[in-house]
Subunit: 406 residues, 2 copies
Amino acid sequence: TINAGRLWDSIHETARFGACDGGGVDRLTLTDEDKRVRDWFCDTVEALGCTVTVDEVGNMFAHRPGKRDDLDPIAIGSHLDTQPTGGKFDGILGVLAGIEILRTLDEAGYITNAPLEIVNWTNEEGTRFSPAMLCSGVFAGVFPPDYAWSRTDRDGIRFDDALDRIGYRGTEKAGGHRLGAMFELHIEQGPILEAENCTIGVVTGVQGARWYDVRLAGSTGHTGATPMRLRRDALVGASELVLAVQRIAQDHGPEAVASVGRIDVAPNSRNVVPGEVSLSVDLRHPDDATLARMAESFEAELGRIADHHGLERDLTPVWDSPAVRFAPELIARVEAGAEQAGLRHRRLVSGAGHDAAYIARVTPTTMVFVPCLGGVSHNVAESTTLDECRAGAQTLLNAVIAHDNS
Amino acid sequence: TINAGRLWDSIHETARFGACDGGGVDRLTLTDEDKRVRDWFCDTVEALGCTVTVDEVGNMFAHRPGKRDDLDPIAIGSHLDTQPTGGKFDGILGVLAGIEILRTLDEAGYITNAPLEIVNWTNEEGTRFSPAMLCSGVFAGVFPPDYAWSRTDRDGIRFDDALDRIGYRGTEKAGGHRLGAMFELHIEQGPILEAENCTIGVVTGVQGARWYDVRLAGSTGHTGATPMRLRRDALVGASELVLAVQRIAQDHGPEAVASVGRIDVAPNSRNVVPGEVSLSVDLRHPDDATLARMAESFEAELGRIADHHGLERDLTPVWDSPAVRFAPELIARVEAGAEQAGLRHRRLVSGAGHDAAYIARVTPTTMVFVPCLGGVSHNVAESTTLDECRAGAQTLLNAVIAHDNS
Ligand SMILES: NC(=O)NCCC(=O)O
Ligand SMILES: NC(=O)NCCC(=O)O
């Protein structure tokens, strides 16, 4: 049985690394704070007798031998990086529940058949280096390592330079060892479990996502002396695009979501008509065909708006992540694990992307969700209770043990 | 007669200080580049036998004695700071034409009755420290020096610290000496002169302007997992506000202009629903009553939009600069000066704010405009010809001499 107090304490222990106002965590990938939590991870799992392997894109694997080393390890993992206004649980719960499982098994003197590996995937969030789930993607062969290494952040810093700077470029090839299965525990980041009073979400898959970068260029001018009819105001075009993106979500049913999260204006001076705007667009839907239609509408709206305001436009597709279905036999193990723990559960599709979505391409994979207050995440106020953490970690343990015994 | 080639050369000499891509100048007030152009100004006017006084907010006065030192000096001035995407002429032409007048008079051995003062006013642009025309405003008693000193830029740096850092806090009290008149030559920054094929604008006044800072706060959330109906997206509200500001201009006749020049989003992450947006609003009209109605519509729209999206709002008025009428006797001198030089001219009201607008409160003041290509300014492509510079400087000289003789 999971020791929920111990799990809770280690969540709060790691929340010091990058602690920010409002009780949240600001720990962008490959920053000094990320290095500190990675060092903590190494120290902690090594003290539990594990061996740590780091691959060429910084993914970390804490290996606990099983009885039969001919079996591929069962992975339990998620990510330790956060959003700039992140919470204490998003990703972190999934890694620390893995560590809690190691401790629980150690106390019980329990050795699994297959080895266990607790995994910290690099750059899940995608906010510093796009796209999201970058290094689980490399592990799964979705992206070549070169692609990850050459990604740059907004200051032009390359991923590989940032990785070397914190000393977490390992020697193992990404994807260089096989996993027998992967289980990821995560907070839901949405409102369904809370609304239906369920403690466990049995995750059957992940919805599809498309990300774009857009650049609109008009002409700068004096805000006092440039008549309205002579302007080519890039921010006016960008504002229409933000509202068009909202309408696209509304026009494609209640499951569709569409957002502009990032916008940068140049020269960003209060008495200069904006000459250039860069922004990001994020479209998602559980159904790939609907998502494709949303993408088409978006491209059409962008063209219409740019033409109407006489703006130049650049459209860069950044990410195209189709909808994912998890392995039925693992989904059933999670369901049984929740039953065994006497917890209310329901099946659902994840709105957020997760490392599990890419790992599912190379090994049987599934996820366990627990509720978060108000469905809120990517927000310093993100909150999950001790009992919910217990429920998630216990279900995870039950599912892993059952899978190991099968 | 003005030596236009010499004026042209000194314009290009100063354009080195802060030269940026596209042939423009990026010389925000009180930066190292601003210090370099100020040092150049001192060296140049001292070589011409002038004495330089710097006041407590960094305004610089190059004094050339007249025959009668009981008369208040006639000022010729403008500003040497620029926008981040500024041109080579905005402000600069007005100061360097003053220096060219000194050279022309020296060559002719001409001593005016009243002393002459060439003035460089601090922080006209208002982009680093708002509001615009800050230190001509202090000189004119519109703002107390404390107000100027305590303004902060976007990095939180105080005006007085920036001023001390470049060594340009002088000892004279701002407004501590009287001016008998002030003439400011400037590029039009609008399209009228070019469209009507006039070389000289006889400026009768400056339109009114109101500036605001707006903050809209909603709630961050995950872009993939937060249903549209549960969002409070601050960028959606901000985008509606940008478009409302456009409509307000369109609803108040062809002279009305209204702009959002600056927008900053937090956390500005591509997979986070924007939680907070700060933006600047700039409303202008030549008629104060119309401007007041525009301001009312804007406040009403802000309230409506914030309520509709469940956003918190903060509204900070930053600047309220009523319409200004220049001194009729000086306007007539500029008109006669253009006639004398055989130049096509017309009267107009300035769309942009200028130091002259504040100095007009304490001494008879007017302005001379020359065209700029396409009416474009606050843009690296800002352009005015050598002949136009000549025309402006000659009209300025004619008007100053006639005024001095009256
Ligand atoms: N779970 C999570 O926040 N993933 C980040 C990638 C995404 O935006 O879905
Ligand atoms: N002339 C000029 O660009 N002034 C800056 C202040 C304003 O925005 O009007």
